[in-house]
Symmetry: C2
DNA sequence: TGTACATCAGTGAACGCGCGTTCACTGATGTAC
DNA sequence: TGTACATCAGTGAACGCGCGTTCACTGATGTAC
């Protein structure tokens, strides 16, 4: 299983993973709509036709790249899902949002690919990866609402509002449209407790 | 000045406006990245080369289409800018957001074009149209903060938060990712007073 | 351990397409006299 | 009012490009005997 990156062999051995990796790399440097199958194959040092051994179409490849993004996000979220660790429900929910924005800023084109191409959602591998992330948002919102003693019926609206805020912030700040502050996020403090209509001190620091 | 829509004449007479109109029409039916200069020319009944009498490039045309979107939005906003009318500052600010979301839902592809292609921002006609809209958001936030008796320094963070919320909501609901409610927007009620840390009743109904 | 063979991940050339853009041109318009 | 002419908004053919995809193929791999 000794893989030598440099030696060009007839059988690449790891082509599918390499293509996905190359795609993610290219997305850190160029816009998501300028990803080409041929360019990807070239980057990996393989003929364009070879791609079709591993993906039925360019779209299927893109769907897997997008799914990969959701999987990375979901993995980062493991540290702040209910039942995982030190902080309280509200802190975990806030951390979810912070990681979301951090991901978008770290990989803007990847982020846009994940949310831009609605028609890619028909590939199950993407739909499922995305659903797993969205479910995490909802679960965390429910957890937060429960921990705050708020009626459960507010969990879904809270999830929508918080997710919208975070998603919009990610999108607009990437586009350079928001005012800046020294601290990074230039938002009113304590938005979440206000969503929850609880004075900040009630739920603060309960670890 | 009698323009007959149907009769094909050698000189179109109104080609630039017709091209922009055709573009907006096509955006209501197809994705923003499938707009082609040739397709547009065909839709208007003119050769592709004729487009270059009115736009130096396809990008310039797209920039004008995006600018047109901002201009439409700005025009709709005239009824709810400070100094215009019946409602209070907070109601006007909320109305801004509602019109923003309504625009996005009415013309998803146009909306995405306006915010998606950051590199189009180098066309002054677009940059200026966009800046006019963004300025309205900031002015309205400032107005709202002032009317609520909140320190002016919160105007910018409020504008960012409210705009992010609305933009994210528009984007995510277009993608079909949010939970739905009968009333349309499925969000916690009275988000804005909570942003402002004012009990709803203080600023409600002051017309 | 050595050979035959099925499997399948690769190759490279080609297809056909639609695209943005350029070019030399043509024909309608409007103004000067 | 009629003619000459400059202007310029159109035409249609062509260029060159990069794209996704297909095809007949080749060569490496691993398994059966």
């Amino acid at each position: 299983m000794a893989l030598e990156e440099d030696s060009p062999r007839y059988h690449h051995g790891n082509l599918k993973a390499s293509l996905l990796e190359a795609a993610v790399n290219q997305l850190s440097e160029q816009a998501e709509d300028s990803l080409s199958l041929r360019g990807l194959a070239k980057a990996v040092g393989v003929s364009a036709a070879a791609v079709y051994r591993h993906f039925p179409s360019k779209e299927a490849l893109l769907a897997e790249v997008a799914a990969d993004g959701f999987n990375r996000l979901h993995e980062q979220w493991q540290t702040c899902l209910p039942g995982s660790g030190t902080a309280g429900a509200r802190e975990r929910f806030e951390r979810l949002g912070q990681l979301y924005i951090a991901f978008a800023h770290a990989s803007p084109a990847h982020f846009r690919l994940m949310f831009g191409q609605t028609d890619l959602r028909r590939f199950p591998i993407l739909a499922e990866a995305a659903a797993r992330c969205f479910e995490s948002v909802r679960v965390s919102a429910l957890d937060t609402v429960a921990a705050a003693g708020v009626d459960k019926k507010w969990a879904a609206p809270l999830a929508n509002a918080a997710w919208s805020l975070v998603h919009g912030y990610a999108h607009l700040s990437l586009a350079g449209l928001l005012t800046r502050s020294e601290t990074g996020l230039h938002l009113p403090p304590d938005l979440l407790p206000r969503f929850l209509q609880i004075p900040p001190e009630v739920t603060a620091k309960k670890d």
